[in-house]
């Protein structure tokens, strides 16, 4: 210990006196020179100049040598001093840097050339959870990066390090405890004093918060964008101080400008319909003054020339100095506006149509208050029109009418009538006839709609009712007239027929007088036939007497008539040919009347069939169901131009205008009878000649009706003509 202590003391002494050493060396050299001269007997030798030359040369050489040595020393000492100062300064810097590296909050990692950790700082230990000892020799990537780390970033780091290049970027790391955190890494190359690349140093800062904030911002922006896109709502922001505008992407999309375009106010105003420009301009300008929110719908033209309706809403945002911005949204409401316009147009159209129609229309709300009525409604109820204001209750309108005696049925029993009418009205499904004080008759239709509104129609059926009444009166009068005339004609016929029958007997053996009475009798009977036919027509026209219908077999009914007419058939040697086998054709019919038809048709066939010929009866189920029966003769047939008219009253066929005694009513009665059954009678000429008269009756329904005997409820008098006399064409 002593020696080093001595040595250190010596060194420190030398350090302190280093500058003086060259001067000591120089002084020492000069001293040694002078000493050497003294010892060589200097005064004796100094007598001659030659003797003086030797010591002088020695002195000079000694001085030179001392000077050179001192100079050398000074130079060396100075150089060392400089080096030491430099070295001292340098080590202070390194220590400062190390201190920084150790104490910085950034994680610092130092690796060798192969990327293996050689040193980490305390911050790095804290962030990663790995101690320096655990980290040494490991690769930071393998130690800290995980599946969640971005593969591309990892690859770029690897490539940069392999190429010996710096890298800077963000990457997701996982700590030893499993915590994921984002770092920004700055990897630089590490060189030694000779400039050789010896490794890497990475300085990492935790940017997790920043990354999370950025992510949250991106998510919320995406959310905003998506909701805006889905709802068609764009956002905008207007700086009230500098007048700048900002639009969101969706706002740009709505106005069809490039995303990110930030328009000027003037540009926006240009997009507006001219009549809205001033208003919008004022609203934007008012932001500063009134600081009020607004909500406006206005038509615009997009950049691509599309016409759209926009709803623009704005609110004012404040900062410390007062209103700073208008922020708002804009929404494409074109479709809604179109639908509204359409609905409005439809409503107008409907209202116009309702006003135009010739029927009275009224609408009451679910609380029975008048919503709307057309002019015709007011005109019909002109007595109570003053009460017809929207919102008036149905009852108040009725009461107004009652006060003025508008409802004919209500006179004298107003309250009872009102109660009945209100009950009908509230039932929501009314059809009734109403008589008004002015003589008009209304059909009232009221229907409740699903939403509770009540729609009412008033149809003026005055003319219809009067016409119907007149027709009914005329019909009754006609029937009465025909009935009376028939009766008044039958009574005198009693004398004609009765006396001529008696006269024939009383004439005894006088053939001429007998013939006279016979002619009178025939004439009387022909007239009686006609009178009876007229009575039939009036009965069937008279509506009062519905035909009594029952189940019957049309073929069986016809067979009875054929049997009844057998004497006439025999007289002309006619055969009746039936279908084989004879079918059964169930019908619902009045047997007496249907037999009357068959008798008439068959009698005509008998009259026109050539003697000895065959009358064919066809019978089958009709093509449309029901029963079909036809009588065909082989006579001359019916002229084609008469096929349609032979069923008309008093139209006699040319072929019977021979005084043979038809009434001209037979087929008319037949048609009336068939129609009264819901059936038909038709005339045609058969293939191969001869008339073909077809009857069709609807099928009998399943339910059993009583069979109706061929005895009429309204049978003609027994003195009615014989079948052949009833026959006519």
């Amino acid at each position: 210990m002593t020696a080093p202590g001595t040595s250190d003391r010596l060194r420190s002494w030398l350090d302190r006196h280093r500058r003086r050493v060259p001067f000591a060396v120089l002084a020492g050299g000069v001293a040694l020179d002078l000493l050497a001269l003294g010892f060589t007997d200097l005064p004796g030798r100094l007598t001659t100049p030659v003797q003086l030359a030797g010591p002088a040369l020695f002195l000079a050489g000694g001085l030179l040598a001392s000077g050179l040595l001192a100079l050398l020393l000074h130079w060396q000492i100075h150089a060392r001093q400089r080096t030491e100062t430099l070295a001292h300064d340098l080590s202070a810097d390194v220590e400062l840097l190390a201190l920084v590296a150790r104490s910085t909050t950034n994680a610092v990692v130092v690796t060798d050339l192969r990327g293996r950790i050689t040193w980490i700082n305390a911050a790095c230990e804290q962030v990663t959870g790995y101690s320096l000892a655990e980290s040494l020799g490991r690769s930071p990537g393998a130690m800290l990066q995980c599946e969640a780390s971005d593969r591309t970033t990892r690859l770029r780091i690897r490539q940069a390090l392999d190429a010996g290049q710096p890298f800077r970027g963000d990457i997701l790391n996982r700590s030893k405890a499993g915590r994921l955190y984002w770092i920004n890494i700055d990897i630089q190359l590490l060189h030694d004093a000779q400039g050789r690349h010896i490794g890497f140093i990475g300085i990492n800062s935790d940017v997790t918060d920043r990354r999370q904030t950025e992510h949250a911002l991106r998510v919320s922006q995406a959310f905003l964008h998506n909701t805006g896109r889905i709802a068609g709502v764009g956002g905008w922001n207007y700086d009230l101080r500098n007048g700048s505008l900002q639009w969101t992407e969706q706002a740009c999309a709505i106005l069809e400008v490039a995303a990110g375009h930030q328009p000027t106010v003037a540009e926006c105003l240009d997009r507006c319909a001219p009549e809205f420009r001033q208003q919008l301009d004022q609203l934007l300008a008012q932001g500063l003054d009134t600081a009020s929110a607004w909500d406006l719908e206005l038509p615009v033209v997009t950049v691509r020339g599309q016409q759209r309706w926009l709803r623009v809403v704005a609110e004012v945002e404040y900062d410390d100095e007062g209103p700073a911005r208008l922020v708002g949204a804009l929404q494409d409401v074109t479709t809604r506006r179109l639908v509204e316009a359409e609905a409005h147009r439809n409503a107008e159209l409907l209202r116009g149509a309702i006003d135009t129609i010739d029927e009275a229309f009224v609408l009451y709300d679910p609380d029975d208050r008048l919503v709307f009525c057309n002019d015709k409604y007011r005109a019909i109820y002109h007595t109570s029109r003053e009460a017809m204001v929207p919102g008036a209750s149905f009852e108040s309108i009725l009461r107004c009418g009652l006060q003025h005696g508008q409802y004919r049925e209500a006179v004298g029993r107003e309250e009872a009538w009102l109660a009945e009418r209100l009950a009908q009205h509230r039932s929501g499904n009314t059809t009734l006839i109403q008589h008004l004080d002015d003589g008009r008759v209304l059909r009232i239709l009221e229907r409740r709609m699903p939403d509770g509104h009540l729609v009412g129609f008033r149809i003026d059926i005055t003319d219809l009712v009067r016409a119907t009444e007149a027709a009914e009166r005329a019909d009754r009068a006609k029937s009465e007239f025909i009935g009376t005339i028939s009766h008044e004609l039958r009574t005198p016929l009693q004398s004609v027929i009765g006396f001529s029958e008696l006269g024939q007997v009383f004439a005894g053996g006088q053939p001429q007088i007998q013939q006279m009475f016979q002619d009178i009798l025939s004439g009387g009977q022909r007239m009686l036939t006609l009178v009876n036919a007229l009575l039939d027509v009036s009965k069937i026209d008279g509506r009062g007497e519905a035909l009594a219908l029952g189940h019957a077999d049309l073929v069986a009914l016809a067979a009875e008539v054929v049997h009844e007419l057998a004497p006439l058939l025999d007289a002309r040697q006619l055969q009746v040919q039936w279908p084989q086998p004879r079918p059964v054709l169930p019908v619902r019919a009045n047997a007496f009347r249907v037999q009357q038809v068959v008798r008439n048709v068959l009698a005509n066939a008998i009259r026109f069939a050539p003697p000895g010929s065959c009358i064919e009866i066809q019978a089958r189920t009709g093509h449309e169901g029901g029963a079909w029966l036809a009588v065909r003769d082989h006579g001359p047939g019916i002229p084609n131009d008469e096929l349609d008219t032979i069923f008309e009253a008093f139209v006699q066929s040319s072929r019977t205008r021979d005084g043979s005694g038809g009434t001209g009513l037979g087929l008319t009665i037949c048609r009336k009878i068939m129609r009264a059954h819901g059936g038909r009678i038709e005339a045609a000429n058969a293939d191969g000649g001869g008339a073909l008269i077809s009857l069709w009756l609807p099928a009998a329904p399943e339910s059993g009706l009583p069979a109706v005997a061929a005895v009429p409820a309204d049978a003609a008098p027994p003195a009615s003509a014989t079948p052949i006399q009833a026959a006519s064409t």
């Binding site: 009693q494 008696l502 009575l535 309204d714």
Partner: protein, 127 residues
């Protein structure tokens, strides 16, 4: 002794026709031109049969028929109603008035004689 038939009929030609027909077969015929006279005559003459027209001015045939039917004495006299009204409803209205037969005009004289003969015969046998 001839059977006595009372004809109540407002029309003279019909009355004449009936008289000629019945007298031809030997009946005694008495006549009335209206309902009230007919009723009086019926009470007075007590005929074997009455022929009664329906449509007459004044008291009509239906009323006369009902009065006859309700009369304890006259109700035994058979009545034939004569009418130009030929419907079923007319006939049942006539029969409801209490008459025994209903003939629709115009009838044949032989039909009348047959009906009158039948009724007198059955009245005589008490049927």
């Amino acid at each position: 002794m001839a059977h006595k038939v009372l004809t109540i009929e407002d029309q003279p030609d019909i009355r004449r026709l009936i008289r000629m027909t019945l007298e031809f077969k030997g009946f005694e015929v008495i006549e009335a031109g209206d309902g009230r006279t007919g009723l009086d005559l019926a009470r007075q003459a007590q005929p074997d049969l009455i022929l009664l027209d329906v449509m007459m001015p004044g008291m009509d045939g239906l009323t006369v028929g009902k009065t006859l039917a309700q009369d304890p004495v006259l109700c035994r006299i058979p009545v034939v109603m004569l009418s130009a009204l030929g419907t079923a409803a007319d006939k049942s209205a006539g029969m409801a008035a209490g008459v025994q037969a209903y003939l629709v005009k115009p009838f044949s004289p032989w039909e009348l004689l047959e009906k009158v003969g039948q009724l007198i015969a059955s009245a005589r046998t008490g049927a």
